[in-house]
């Protein structure tokens, strides 16, 4: 009897501990379309995550209009769409279990690096509790706590990716300030040198007494 209960407790805990689908914040380079797939175990799971376009060349053109993000369910329906954005958080309740497709579309030819994070979280509800009477209600609270901590971790990954993007912008601004200022000085020197040379030519012997 004792061992039966122990077995069920371990079973319940195994069920609980397997409820989080997670991937570390990976970066992928998007040339045209890049798709990432993630498996959702249960219908009704909350899929949350974020993505940030990390580096972008803004040297000669105006700021890149951003990339499009499309999430498709295993049935082929589009669950979420975000157009023309440089970084967003997303969250939705999975309408069905299965393989979800997360696609990034780059409308321009310059490749962009996108850093993304996807998390699938499940909290056992009353239905799961009713199915297995040895599942302690405290496990539900623990699952909720774990999901709350996961949301903090997700926010941190988002902040880290945005910090990386700002760092890129800052370093590019820093380099450009120096480069453009030195170029400006050289151009100024060259322009005044050319002015002097021209005036000298105007007053040269062969031309002067006839024109000036």
């Amino acid at each position: 009897m004792e061992t039966t209960m122990k077995a069920y407790a371990i079973l319940g805990l195994l069920v609980l501990s397997n409820f989080a689908g997670d991937v570390s914040a990976l970066s992928v380079t998007v040339n045209d379309v890049e798709c990432v797939y993630e498996y959702v175990l249960y219908e009704g799971d909350t899929v949350s995550g974020n993505f940030v376009v990390v580096d972008h060349d803004i040297f000669w053109s105006s700021d890149h209009p951003g990339i499009d993000f499309i999430v498709s369910s295993p049935g082929g329906n589009v669950v979420q769409t975000m157009k023309g954005t440089s970084g967003e958080k997303f969250e939705f309740k999975a309408p069905q279990s299965g393989m979800y497709k997360f696609c990034f579309h780059n409308p321009y030819s310059t490749p962009e690096t996108v850093s993304f994070y996807i998390h699938v979280g499940h909290i056992p509800n009353e239905h799961d509790l009713a199915k297995d009477e040895h599942l302690d209600p405290v496990n539900v609270k623990i699952a909720e706590l774990r999901e709350a901590l996961e949301s903090v971790t997700a926010e941190q990954k988002y902040l880290k990716a945005r910090d990386a993007r700002h760092r890129h912008t800052n370093e590019s601004t820093h380099k450009r300030v120096i480069f453009y200022t030195i170029a400006e000085y050289i151009l100024l020197a060259v322009a005044s040198g050319l002015q002097v040379v021209y005036i000298r030519r105007l007053f040269s012997k062969s031309v002067a007494y006839n024109r000036v």
Binding site: T3, T4, A7, Y8, A9, I10, L11, L13, L14, V15, S17, N18, G21, D22, V23, S24, L26, S27, V28, C35, V36, Y37, E38, Y39, L41, M99, T113, S115, I118, D136, V138, N139, I142, R146, L149, E150, V152, T153, Q156, K160, D163, H166, R167, N170, E171, T173, H174, V177, I178, T181, E184, Y185, L188, A189, S192, Q195, V196, I199, R200, F203
Partner: protein
């Protein structure tokens, strides 16, 4: 009898957990030619654990052998951490010694039919997610609610460390911004000085020139 059934259920479930744990990874589509790379910016002294395998979802997979891929993992300074050719699955683990962008690249080997969509399942765990909780449970002999709470405590510590890291990064970036700001101000004033200096030089030179030409 009930005990036996219960333990059998546990074993079946453990087996299911192992199967589904492999689907907690992300899937990537590999192009027919060229490489597909994923990267992550990781800081120093962090454990990285990764597992990759080729997903064979063709109907005639029993007729044709599975296509093979090659993998290469490099550190930010270019050191090769893991390199494997002609493989359908594998795993690698390392502790980071440099802070920077770690790159894992996959490409398809030449011996496969063109037109096939090759999918790789990658389970990439960094830091706290790579921690082996089973061995911790065995060593400390904890189980049940206490075990779950220990995992949560680990997660909270990881959050704390990440926060400190973000704070330091933000402080570095603020320094760069303020340096840029100061430089913009200085260089603009200096460009005014350069302008005035150039025009003064011009005037002096032309005066000397006209004196020499006896025009003034």
């Amino acid at each position: 009898m009930a005990t036996k059934l219960a333990w059998r259920a546990v074993i079946v479930f453990i087996w299911w957990c192992i199967i589904t744990t492999t689907t907690q990874a992300i899937w990537l589509d590999l192009p027919d030619s060229g490489t597909k790379c994923v990267s992550e910016d990781i800081h120093n002294n962090v454990v990285v654990l990764a597992d990759y395998s080729v997903i064979n979802n063709q109907e005639d997979s029993h007729l044709h052998p599975a296509a093979t891929i090659s993998v290469k993992v490099t550190s930010p300074y270019g050191n090769n951490l893991h390199h494997k050719e002609n493989t359908t699955h594998g795993q690698f683990a390392f502790t980071t010694t440099e802070s920077g962008n770690y790159l894992a690249c996959f490409w398809v080997d030449g011996n496969h039919r063109p037109g096939d969509r090759l999918t790789v399942s990658l389970d990439w765990r960094v830091g706290i997610a790579a921690k082996d909780w089973e061995s911790v449970a065995k060593k400390e002999k904890i189980e049940g609610v206490e075990f779950e709470l220990t995992k949560l405590e680990g997660a909270v510590e990881a959050i704390h460390e990440n926060l400190i890291y973000l704070k330091n990064r933000e402080a570095e970036m603020r320094q760069v911004s303020e340096k840029t700001n100061a430089r913009v101000a200085w260089f603009s004033i200096m460009s005014l000085g350069v302008c005035i200096g150039a025009s003064a030089l011009q005037v002096w030179y032309l005066k000397r020139f006209f004196h020499k030409k006896k025009l003034i």
